[in-house]
């Protein structure tokens, strides 16, 4: 499961893909100057177990709160995701593969990743992040499983207390190419 750093470097986020589509380039065309990447931001992350308990929540650049207590916010988020997931499955006009993956508004995108064991990871980013699937998979496989699931002192189905998990998660998210250090 190593080599993620190199992978992220090569991907470089959406802003790095300049001139990918369109007319083929000739030899005499001027060099493409890539515009600076737009402000890419990660707002927050939720991790739920399959019963709906919020195991972990982290914020990085959240500019607006929901205005309700955190407990209610978690319940609302989980409930909405649960409904969306089953709605997507029912109403899908073609065969389902991954099911519900993300939704976006004009301001942010919510990315969803669910494991077969029912663990749900939710990441809110700005619109320039088209897919956070690999990041969420990494958080699950390399951080959550390694530091929480395999830790005999971490009781299952209880909010994660592990400081190590929190610190590693924070470091990983801040190291993502679509994480902008200053709030836009």
């Amino acid at each position: 499961m190593g080599g993620y750093g190199g992978q992220w470097g090569a991907m470089g986020g959406n802003g790095g893909q300049c001139g990918a589509m369109g007319t083929p380039r000739g030899v005499s065309d001027p060099p493409i100057l890539c515009p600076p990447p737009p402000q890419m931001t990660i707002h927050n992350l939720y991790i739920f177990d399959r019963a709906g308990t919020c195991l972990h929540y982290s914020e990085w650049h959240r500019r607006r709160q929901a205005g309700i207590p955190k407990e209610e916010e978690f319940k609302l988020m989980f409930g909405m995701l649960f409904s969306l997931r089953s709605f997507v499955g029912k109403m899908s006009p073609t065969d389902m593969r991954d099911g519900f993956v993300s939704f976006h508004t004009s301001k942010y995108r919510l990315h969803y990743y669910e494991t077969p064991s029912g663990l749900r990871l939710v990441l809110n980013t700005d619109l320039s992040v088209s897919s956070a699937r690999e990041a969420l998979q990494h958080i699950y496989s390399n951080l959550f499983v390694e530091l929480v699931v395999k830790n005999p002192l971490c009781p299952p189905r209880a909010p994660v207390q592990s400081e190590l998990f929190r610190a590693r998660l924070d470091a990983f998210v801040r190291g993502l190419p679509f994480f902008s250090p200053r709030p836009a």
């Binding site: 494991t115 077969p116 064991s117 029912g118 663990l119 496989s141 390399n142 499983v145 699931v149």
Partner: protein
């Protein structure tokens, strides 16, 4: 991986030996092993999912194959053969040709004739399956340590309440 496997096998043996000291009856040791295995299985499933990156299985048969060919291989380095043992398509048997857990065990002592030495495995499988919404009964049907010709684990998938529409049973 081989070195730590030996340590694991020896540790397992020490565990069973200690349980035999703690519990007089074979059934109690078996139950305890199963319970411990269950506790391991409910966590091991996430490690398995993380490392194997497999998609959801679409049938009991696919699940049984996954257990034998991917999970057993990953954790014990062996690949039991799988067969479906009933027409309804929910009973499977895994035949273990090689079982590393009994590498250092020749035969059960006479006073422990009903001991399911590897019962931990049954608990592990049961716990792991439960975490992916599959209720199952897992037991040792035959055991070389008890004098049978082969070691056979039986998995019976029970009907489950949730996510039924994601499962297609093969007949």
């Amino acid at each position: 991986a081989m070195e730590s496997r030996e340590l694991f096998v020896l540790t397992y043996g020490a565990l069973v030996a200690q349980l035999c000291k703690d519990y007089e009856k074979d059934e109690d040791v078996n139950t305890f092993l199963d319970r411990m295995g269950y506790g391991i299985g409910v966590r091991l499933i996430d490690d398995f999912l993380a490392r194997s990156a497999v998609k959801k299985c679409r049938s009991y048969s696919e699940t049984a194959d996954m257990i034998a060919q991917v999970a057993f291989k990953m954790y014990l380095g062996v690949t039991p053969s799988v067969s479906c043992s009933n027409t309804a398509g929910n009973e499977f048997s895994l035949i273990l040709d090689k079982n590393p857990l009994v590498d250092f065990v020749e035969e059960l002592p006479a006073e422990r004739a009903s001991l399911c030495y590897c019962n931990l495995l049954c608990g592990v499988i049961r716990g792991a399956l439960e975490m992916v919404h599959l209720a199952a009964e897992v037991t040792f049907l035959r055991d070389r340590l008890k004098g049978d010709a082969v070691t056979e684990i039986g998995i019976t998938f029970l009907r489950k309440a949730e996510d039924r529409n994601e499962l297609v049973t093969t007949t």
